[in-house]
């Protein structure tokens, strides 16, 4: 696929929902070790609502506004930490594409940067805090680099995916700063942050969809 159009969005989110359905128990278990064990549940619920939300909120010819509106509806459906962060990412990513018809490589990079900024603002977090941001931020950087060099959407998505994987891997050595995990520093050493793992699966699924 060379560009992502509005009509591709339901399929894209269906693919994401499929991945999170598959990873549900794994994510719940990771989360239970550090927090409250609901992570897989909310990710599946949030992303499986998105195809419908995108259809209900389609703004003709404006992929940005469509994503923004669907994202803000998703926030109401999964108001947990990661649910809200994912929704905030989609909303801010959508804002950056306001007025655009579709996403090519550079707009995909723009979307990912918005996604990361949305998380950063809502979570009041920085890169290095051992959160989902570490995966998404790295994905955005790698995508920006590739896209600015004139790469295709598929190449850009591949770079983003590799960035997310790297960013996720890097959380293994980070100390948790936020909430429930912070008290369990010891348990977190050498293990990926569960939120960053969500980020990794997210980009892997996007890349697979785009390359298919």
């Amino acid at each position: 696929m060379e560009k992502i159009g509005i009509e591709d969005l339901p399929g894209l989110f269906e693919a994401l929902a499929g991945v999170f359905a598959e990873k549900k128990d794994e994510l719940c278990d990771m989360d239970a070790k550090m927090g409250d064990g609901d992570l897989g549940l909310t990710m599946e619920k949030g992303f499986s609502a998105m195809p419908g939300l995108v259809k209900e909120n389609t703004e003709e010819g404006n992929i940005g506004k469509t994503l923004f509106k669907a994202g803000s509806r998703m926030a109401a459906i999964v108001p947990s930490t990661m649910g809200t962060l994912m929704a905030s990412g989609i909303m801010e990513g959508g804002k950056r594409l306001n007025g655009e018809k579709e996403m090519d490589a550079s707009k995909f990079a723009l979307f990912l940067r918005g996604y990361a900024d949305g998380i950063k603002k809502r979570g009041k977090c920085e890169v290095g805090d051992r959160t989902v941001l570490d995966a998404i931020d790295k994905a955005a950087s790698k995508a920006e680099e590739k896209a600015s060099g004139g790469a295709s959407l598929a190449e850009t998505a591949l770079a983003a995916k590799e960035g997310a994987e790297e960013g996720c891997e890097a959380t293994k050595d980070m100390k948790p700063k936020f909430g429930k995990a912070a008290v369990h520093e010891a348990a977190s050493i050498g293990v990926c942050d569960q939120g960053a793992t969500v980020g990794k699966y997210l980009l892997e699924a996007m890349c697979a969809f785009i390359s298919a």
Partner: protein, 331 residues
């Protein structure tokens, strides 16, 4: 999982239906959304205090909506934040011309959603201030990063009283802050609880094992080990609290002995007696003792001990003020 429920996915809404049916004279919901929980007795010109959080902690959070306490509550699913939209809708309903205080527990999901709702209200030119309960000593060395647990009751009590006295938004915020700065909590669990939609507990404890410092969502504690006596637990918890917030001989405190759900009131009073003896032995005076279920985790067995250092006489007056909600009355 043994629970008196219908479909697990309807747990929160079935509970809310029961609550509105029982207490429709005192509370109501708005926007056709059961989870937008509001007082039915709005008072003009009063600062509106709004709380919110996940289901599974009754009487927390919605149980404190009522006379001389809170005005509204965003109700989330089990252990999940309410949405920003729900908080916004509650805010629009109960706002009475004097601004809004958001007063809730220090959990990321809740913070993000309350912040989003506050941003939405800014657009409507409604003034909102926020403060979070963060009393769980064990949950973090950094006070700013601690979880909010049962001690939020003292914040509700002080802020609610100040608002009832028709204090300004800043004054109500300061009352909440005064309670917050002087409250510490330590808790421990003897059994886990089960989220209805998950169907099994997310941690296990052996036949004679307990978890000291465990969070109210089952976040692991600082140690797991054989069940200690009430006296030992009281000693360990009071030590943790006083190490973090020194209280001198002759000073006054209020104590809250909170049951997590399955622990009997008999046990809570045994524990309360032991906590009192320890404070007595240090010459610390007890102004008021609250014992019961104030913040639970459904059917988790265990308890928490909160100590509020009495900052001044005004605080005593706030503690003494009668309150009345469908879930909690103080005459």
């Amino acid at each position: 999982m043994k629970k008196i429920i219908n479909a697990p996915e309807n747990y929160t809404d079935d509970m809310l239906k029961g609550i509105y049916r029982a207490h429709g004279d005192q509370v109501k919901y708005v926007n056709d959304d059961l989870r937008c929980y509001c007082t039915a007795k709005k008072k003009d010109g009063k600062v509106a205090i709004i709380t919110g959080g996940g289901t599974g902690h009754l009487p927390l959070f919605l149980g404190y909506v009522g006379e001389n306490l809170l005005d509204g509550c965003g109700v989330g699913g089990v252990f999940q934040s309410p949405s920003s939209e729900q908080i916004y809708n509650v805010s629009k309903e109960v706002e009475a011309g004097a601004g809004i205080l958001y007063l809730y527990g220090n959990y990321t999901g809740d913070i993000m959603n309350f912040d989003m709702a506050a941003e939405m209200l800014e657009m409507d030119d409604i003034e909102v201030k926020s403060i979070v309960g963060a009393d769980d000593v064990i949950s973090n060395k950094d006070p700013a990063l601690r979880r909010g647990v049962a001690g939020i009751f003292f914040m509700y009590k002080c802020a609610g009283a100040k608002a009832a006295e028709m204090g300004s938004l800043d004054e109500v915020l300061n009352a909440a802050k005064k309670a917050k700065d002087n409250t510490r909590t330590v808790g421990f669990a003897l059994t886990p609880c089960i989220i209805p939609e998950i169907g099994h507990s997310n941690f296990t404890l052996e036949e004679n094992e307990m978890a000291f410092g465990m969070g109210i969502h089952g976040e692991p504690g600082v140690w797991n080990g054989p069940v200690k006596t009430a006296k030992e637990l009281a000693e360990e918890a009071v030590k943790e609290i006083l190490d973090d917030m020194p209280v001198s001989s002759g000073e006054e405190v209020s104590i809250l002995i909170n049951g997590l759900g399955a622990t009997s009131l008999e046990e809570l009073y045994i524990l309360s007696g032991n906590v009192s003896e320890i404070l007595d032995s240090k010459g610390i005076k007890i102004y008021r003792t609250f014992v019961g279920e104030y913040a639970t985790s459904m059917e988790m067995a265990g308890a928490s001990i909160s100590i509020l250092r009495i900052a001044d006489d005004e605080m005593k007056k706030w503690l003494d003020m009668p309150v009345n909600t469908p879930f909690y009355s103080q005459a």
